[in-house]
């Protein structure tokens, strides 16, 4: 079953006095439970693609259907609700709210969803333990390493069991050993929880971990290989 269908997707935006054609007609279908890496050089359009899929950015032309809904026709309120309930995010850096503890960061999405406090606590402690951070719940982000912070971000992204996790270069600021550990965590969650992961990356290690590698270049899909 297709979770995400992108058809003839175009995205232009203005940068100063020039128009940038970030996406020039992308066609893509991603099924449930996939572990996909979208790779390409800087400026190839991979982050823009992720932003458009999640409704963070609008489209210039084309269709984006996610979980049966047309993302391009949704109101801002509907998009917010979709992101809150169906999508988890892991960003490249400074992912977490620095004034909250690791546990509170993990609870944050559930808090926005209105999950009761006891359930939030139980789920967050469980997921922190699954990403290897049992006992770190009380720590604030500035007192944690980059790898630990990214694992907290992953825990926050998946704790609500979203349909899709979008990870924008999650290993970019990590050393290879820490990056590998983080990918192990995500792969295990993908396999056990059947959560779909889409990465934007130019890290070869992320490409190696993924079962499907989509290469983009100049705003178009260059290759799409499943291993």
């Amino acid at each position: 079953m297709k979770l995400l269908e992108v058809g003839q997707l175009k995205k232009d935006y203005r940068e100063g006095k020039t128009w940038v054609h970030a996406l020039r007609g992308v066609d893509l279908q991603i099924g449930e439970g996939e572990f996909v890496a979208i790779a390409g050089p800087s400026g190839s359009g991979k982050t823009t693609l992720l932003n458009v899929i999640s409704g963070l950015d609008s489209v210039t032309e084309g269709q984006v259907r996610f979980d049966g809904d047309d993302v391009t026709t949704m109101t801002p309120r509907q998009l917010t609700h979709m992101r809150l309930t169906k999508i988890g995010f892991v960003f490249q850096v400074y992912n977490l709210i620095p004034v909250l503890t690791a546990q509170e960061n993990v609870e944050f999405t559930m808090l926005l969803q209105g999950v009761p406090a006891a359930k939030r606590k139980a789920l967050s402690l469980d997921i922190l333990s699954r990403v290897g951070l049992a006992g770190y719940g009380h720590r604030r982000p500035p007192t944690m390493s980059g790898g630990q912070q990214q694992r907290v971000a992953v825990a926050r992204a998946i704790v609500t069991h979203p349909r899709l996790v979008l990870a924008d270069e999650p290993t970019a600021n990590l050393d290879s050993e820490t990056g590998a550990k983080l990918l192990d965590v995500m792969k295990e969650l993908n396999e056990t929880e059947k959560i779909t992961f889409i990465f934007s990356t130019h890290d070869p290690m992320v490409m190696d971990y993924s079962r499907r590698l989509i290469r983009v270049r100049d705003g178009r899909v260059d290759s799409d290989k499943t291993r």
Partner: protein, 409 residues
């Protein structure tokens, strides 16, 4: 909500120095507002108290027409039954009868227009400060007729001290001129030079003999335990004495100048206080805008994750409210303490003695803070913080997540 409160609280301490500077500025503003309020309130209270305690009392029963035209023809017969009414009323602290008239005080070398107050020697010191204001000699007495108490200022001007003779003249009730010679028995100093120079006291019995026939009085002056009861007591007395053809007035009717001064000072104070609050508002807006600028990336992430914009607005407004609460606690605490300290010690304004006397004040001003007004000042501060935080909060809520995330964290 608990997490939002925690986030708001911790967010304000992310830049401690900036927060402390803003808190100091806000607290200083509130201290300024409270101290000014205390100063003005002390000034007005002292003006009213001095006027009430020197002569006016809180409530007066006057002969018909005496308020408009204070002449002996508008005096009234004594009302012995009123004594029972006043003595039974628990709101009444003390009262006295007076027979007053405008007259001429003469010495062989000088003549001056004065207000002659025929006072009950026993009751008068309970109603006014005249007993305490005596500096030399004694107050008038029913046992020693034809004694007069005059102000020290007047005594110096007419060069007549204790034991010297002066002559009083005034129109009698029957239209003839009444006069009598009095010996100076007491010198008083109320602190108001103009009052001391223009008012003389003789006994009620002497005044009746000189000015009227029978037991007439021009006023019954009543001092209450609480000034706030003035209107109610006056209304009750007016109802009870409806058939007597008398007027019952309060200190507000008697002292329109002071009442207008109070109104005027309240009106002038509003824009003055508003300046403090406007400066405070700019401080809040500036600080929040800076804080939001520094947290743009983080706000973008929260919005991307699905945080509702109204929740973000609430978060930022809570931050502002926390700042205001902290500043209010500090400002109100220090402001209140400062007013209390000066209220006890007094502010020496003898350098401005002429002006102080003009306003019926002593040389030392005692600030007083009205809790109701102080509460309003604090509530206004919290309201300003909330209202003016809406602009930066709304700006933050209008951020486009994808653009906000691009900014460095």
């Amino acid at each position: 909500m608990k997490t939002l409160l925690k986030m708001a609280w911790l967010n304000i301490w992310r830049n401690k120095r900036r927060t402390l500077i803003l808190l100091c500025a806000m607290a200083a503003g509130l201290i300024g507002v409270l101290f000014t309020m205390g100063f003005m309130q002390g000034w007005m209270n002292q003006m009213v108290d001095n006027a009430i305690m020197t002569y006016e009392g809180h409530v007066k029963i006057l002969g018909k027409g005496f308020q408009r035209n204070p002449v002996i023809e508008n005096s009234m017969p004594a009302m012995p039954d009123v004594e029972g009414i006043l003595n039974r009323d628990p709101r009444v602290r003390a009262w006295t009868e007076r027979l007053t008239a405008q007259g001429l005080l003469s010495t062989p070398t000088d003549s001056r227009v004065v207000t002659i107050v025929g006072a009950d020697p026993d009751r008068e010191p309970q109603v006014s400060v005249i007993g305490e204001a005596l500096r030399d000699g004694e107050f008038v007495s029913s046992k020693e007729p034809l004694k007069i108490a005059i102000g020290r200022t007047l005594s110096e001007k007419i060069k007549k001290g204790l034991g010297k003779k002066v002559v009083l003249m005034s129109q009698r009730l029957d239209g003839e001129i009444g006069s009598a010679a009095f010996r100076v028995g007491g010198l008083f100093d109320t602190g108001s030079g103009s009052y001391d120079e223009s008012t003389v006291y003789i006994s009620l019995a002497d005044a009746r003999q000189m000015l009227a026939e029978g037991d007439r009085v021009t006023e019954i002056t009543i001092l209450l335990h609480d000034i706030k009861d003035s209107e109610v007591v006056a209304a009750d007395l007016a109802r009870e004495l409806k058939e007597r053809g008398v007027e019952v007035v309060t200190w507000k009717d008697r002292l329109p100048f002071i009442v207008e001064m109070i109104k005027l000072s309240d009106r002038f104070a509003i824009p003055y206080y508003a300046l403090f609050y406007i400066a405070m508002a700019f401080g809040i807006v500036n600080t929040l805008l800076m804080a939001i600028g520094e947290r743009t990336h983080e706000i973008g992430i929260m919005l991307a994750m699905g945080m509702h914009r109204r929740t973000l607005v609430l978060l930022i407004m809570l931050e502002s409210l926390f700042l205001a609460i902290l500043a209010a606690l500090a400002g109100a605490g220090i402001g209140w303490g400062l007013v209390a300290w000066f209220g006890h010690r007094g502010i020496d304004l003898s350098a401005f003695s002429a002006a102080m006397e003009y306003y019926g004040l002593g040389h030392v001003l005692y600030p007083v803070l009205d809790p109701g007004r102080a509460a309003w000042a604090v509530v206004a501060m919290l309201a300003v913080a909330l209202v003016f935080s809406f602009y930066p909060a709304a700006r933050a809520a209008r951020l486009v997540p994808v653009e906000a995330i691009r900014r460095a964290g």
